[in-house]
Symmetry: C2
Subunit: 262 residues, 2 copies
Amino acid sequence: MSTRSLHAFANVLADEARRIVRSRLRRGPSVRRKADLSPVTDIDLAVERRLRALIQRRFPEHGIVGEEFPRHQADAPFQWILDPIDGTLSLTHGLPFFGTIIGLHHRGRPVSGVIDFPMLGDRYHAARGLGAWRNRRRLRLRDVPAAKLPDEIISAADRSRFAKFGSAGAFDRLLRRHRHVRGYYDCIGHAYAAEGVIGAVVDYGVKLWDIAATRLLVEEAGGRFVIVRERGHGPATEYGIIAGKPRVVRWLERQFGVRSEE
Amino acid sequence: MSTRSLHAFANVLADEARRIVRSRLRRGPSVRRKADLSPVTDIDLAVERRLRALIQRRFPEHGIVGEEFPRHQADAPFQWILDPIDGTLSLTHGLPFFGTIIGLHHRGRPVSGVIDFPMLGDRYHAARGLGAWRNRRRLRLRDVPAAKLPDEIISAADRSRFAKFGSAGAFDRLLRRHRHVRGYYDCIGHAYAAEGVIGAVVDYGVKLWDIAATRLLVEEAGGRFVIVRERGHGPATEYGIIAGKPRVVRWLERQFGVRSEE
């Protein structure tokens, strides 16, 4: 099975997710709270259920790990990682900044990654060795010269996310040292970093499925992706990540107290 | 001249602005710094120049106050207030969250207001006594019951804007007291408040043209708009405003130390 075919199938999954989200949103989502008090809607569940069924029919030997249902075939070399709706707060409030994240890993290495924004009509996708795209346009990140770094927009998660990792001080310093810090929350910030409309995203408290497509998207676009924090273990592990244009990412690594290899 | 006709003309101006922005963005904007170091592009200038010409041809007796050029006929009863591009940082970075703001006031009272988002293809507009719309859909804000207030999204400007008014402490308290504080900067936050997808916007350091359409949009949608701070005088006056669903606005007025009439 070629990377190209696997990526084509990831895009079929994203098409199907988009169709379900759009048709269900017309009716209005019903929201309930999960055990951790985070909100989940009937749309999240419907999308993940459908994607799991499609994957199991086409690739019965593959594993699946998704946000809403138990893990399937954890030992399989190929693992599909699914976040049916990333940005549920946006979805439940009628804001279009939520997406479906689909990642395929082979023995832990990303093969295909998709972030689809059903209400924006935008899809960011990448395949290992083949490139990254927004819809049909190839994404190629241009790094910034040092003198232009202050003009870049940096997207950061809520201060409370950093505080949980003991990094509230680093967050506060970032606000003082950099002029354009904004919050493009959830997957839209990751997509913007791959596109280069922002210099980088620094996101703390994300789980495996939140970043299932980000590394491949950013790296295939020519950017840098680093995991700078880990907390907890197993599927509950929370990460701190920085991704975007290489110079901006390395500058942020220094702000957040991470020794970079350069 | 009826309110309806004046509002139709405001929409003609917005059509023309959208056409100019879209055609010039294809070439890429050229950016320079104004005296106050804020960025201005050739697109800002081209849009304001064209809107001024159209207004002067159709209503030679009306006044015009715009962000980029000197005031015209300051004593006229009808005043057009123009911000050709609100959200220049978004425009210069390739993000679609910038808009053209057009307001018409008669003896200080708003008659028509438009916020047009050329890249999103969305127009928020309102006419005194006739209602508020997003494109062709009428906007009607539903107020929130007290128990649901914590679920509302509140959009706030950068902390530095509040600090300038001595309100950094109120901003910090807001972050501690309310879970969903996000930054939908510039006019998109005002438009979202009129639409009700966020509970309210609190924006400090805005000038006359930044809020030229906001009061009418929010009030015609059934919301509440208040100016809570003023600093400086004349066209350089900077305001602090809160706008959105009445209960959320009143709650924010208390957070920012403003005595509300109720």
